[in-house]
Symmetry: C2
Subunit: 387 residues, 2 copies
């Protein structure tokens, strides 16, 4: 096990009927709130009204900042920052999925800064202070509700970049599984794929293989993501299934899985970010395409590790490591298909001829994330296995 | 899954060479520290000197409060409180295992209070404020380094009682596995048993069985406690084994395993506390005696759950649930024996004729912990299965 610091200060309030606590929890941090949310779904299902009422009851003045789209955009973040400054906002309240929470984090980071917020994403400046964030989660997927990361797309430069800083942990996140009952099957599956991808990135890129505690935790989370996803698809209002998927996705990227692994990396996300940035595909769908291709690309070096995963996730036994690893990759791909996700670039309507352009885009991120092993050629090789 | 709040603010600094950060971390909370520790072992192995030097370098004035014994005593807590008041101490620095950290927590709770500290343990008063605590852990066992609980023995009333309050989470805990290289085989094993017991209490007493995320986590932790304990016994300086055991014990009782299970209880600890209070047996040794007996007592109602545990921890398959549950209990008992722990009251030199007296002592705790299902008769029945 490698040295690590684990310090996750986010307070999780989990369960049925917990949304009305958002007002009291947010009021701990100020009395003027920016309410960040996405499209109209939370207005249709009543969640917006419930949150606004709770904030008002706790004495907060609310300025609205709706309209966050999936693969959230820098310009929309900048517009939020302008509102914060205009209205002297003290706390950012995010109601939505990962895109909304990531937008809230970027606004929280950029508002008190004397530089443009993008500078933090491209590593030109270091965050010194940020506004407090509270969240109400509506999608089990990214884990943003209990981590310090945010991913934003710069539509001008076609870059989807990430920022992580301990000032960006939400102070409080409210996770009510019932709020995910209306998530459509496709996004339920993409959320599960995202959680699986988060775990796989750590699992596959750890520099220390003597991490049995974390390995068990990660394998259990992957099994839970799959099983709970299937329950949710079979019955969208299965509270137990929605609960398990929600808590799994949160634990998949809250720092626990990676603690002690040493230097880890996010190569699958690195490549997927380019798919999202260039073609605006759903993040989970893009990951379901990249994961099998990337695993196949790594197979020669990582057969034993992939085989272990196959044994523990798919009960694969017998054969050589290489054979079991092959079966594991196929099993993941089949499962992604089974839950309704695309598994090839073609299914995403991305022509094979674009491979070079995607790789060029991904390479920018590879350099920024210090994924030095990834060249244009390597990334193209991975993409060629995603056909 | 049941509603829960999870909020664990302890900062964990884990790994080789991390001890010297205790000064800087503690200085965040004040410049006069009470250094709480146990017997002479940390002086012999140089840890005491290392900590004192680090605290001095960070500008802290240190008042010493050594002499904590296992099953730590209320009188020693009170003596610590007197020192805090006399020297206007601002931060409590605990260097040791669970007994030392628990003592530090009790001192942190009692020092600012205008009542006797025991009132918090017997539920007569509620904690309102506490001094900050930092720790350097030297034993993988209790999880006290990352939770809000403390257990203290009142030698006058022969009561071993617990207090849990969120003000008692250590601010920072330093976990260097190398500091446990010198832990003797018996205490290495008792620590693993303690971690297993913590998980088992939650696993066996959950009121909600639809908790697949937590079940996987718990089963993985039990497997890890056993495997890492065996590594440490085979080679006391196996860094990977010591790391895994240490992190397992921390995660076994940091709130994650129990989050979402609803009302859980600590019946095995309830009974063991009486063994410790009356006979001063090592906590882990007492637990290794109580666990198989208690499981056997629960077998008629909980065969399915114990059988699941057997499948997942000992790879037991085939037979009826009841048969597999029987095998599971035997497998735990055999494993406790194998790692050198007593597994019967007789091995603890406790005569069978004391059963009634032990049960009477445990009953006090059963009432305080609201374990209403436990009568004198029931507890005696469990104890009769611990022979």
């Amino acid at each position: 096990m490698q040295n690590f610091v684990f310090h996750n200060p986010t307070k999780i309030i989990f369960g049925r009927g917990t949304v009305p606590s958002i007002g009291k929890e947010s009021a701990e941090f100020g009395n003027r709130a920016l309410l960040v949310y996405g499209q109209n779904s939370i207005k249709k299902n009543g969640l917006h009204g419930q949150v606004v009422a709770s904030l008002a009851q706790a004495g907060l003045t609310v300025i609205e900042h709706g309209g966050v789209c999936s693969n959230p955009l820098l310009e929309h973040v900048r517009a939020g920052i302008a509102k914060v400054r205009e209205h002297d906002i003290q706390v950012i309240v995010a109601v939505g999925g990962g895109s909304v929470i990531d937008t809230a984090k970027a606004i929280a980071a950029g508002s008190p800064a004397d530089c443009d917020v993008w500078n933090f994403f491209i590593g030109k400046q270091t965050l010194k202070t940020a506004l407090p964030i509270t969240t109400v989660l509506t999608l089990a997927a990214t884990g943003s509700e209990m981590n310090a990361g945010t991913v934003i797309t710069n539509e001008a430069s076609k870059g989807k970049f990430a920022l992580s800083h301990r000032l960006l942990y939400p102070k409080v996140s409210i996770l009510d599984p019932e709020q995910t009952f209306t998530v459509p099957p496709s996004y339920t599956a993409y959320g599960a794929v995202d959680a699986i991808a988060h775990v796989l990135e750590f699992y596959m890129t750890t520099t220390d293989e003597d991490v049995p505690v974390q390995a068990e935790l990660m394998e259990g989370l992957i099994r839970n993501a799959m099983q709970s996803c299937e329950r949710c698809l079979a019955d969208p209002c299965d509270y137990g299934g929605r609960s398990a998927l929600m808590w799994t996705a949160t634990l998949a990227l809250n720092g626990l899985t990676g603690a002690g692994l040493g230097q880890t990396a996010f190569p699958m996300h690195m490549i997927e970010h380019s798919l999202s940035a260039l073609y605006n595909v759903a993040h989970g769908a893009g990951l379901a395409v990249v994961i099998p291709g990337w695993l196949r690309w790594r197979l020669p070096q990582d057969a034993a590790r992939i085989a272990r995963l196959g044994r523990s996730v798919f009960n694969l036994v017998g054969g050589t490591d290489a054979e079991r690893a092959e079966q594991t990759i196929l099993a993941f791909r089949n499962w992604f298909s089974k839950v309704g996700s695309p598994v090839t670039l073609a299914e995403l309507n991305i022509p094979a001829s674009d491979t070079s352009q995607i790789a060029a885009n991904a390479l920018t991120l590879a350099r920024l994330w210090r994924l030095d092993a990834y060249s244009q050629e390597n990334i193209e090789a991975v993409l060629s296995l995603c056909q």
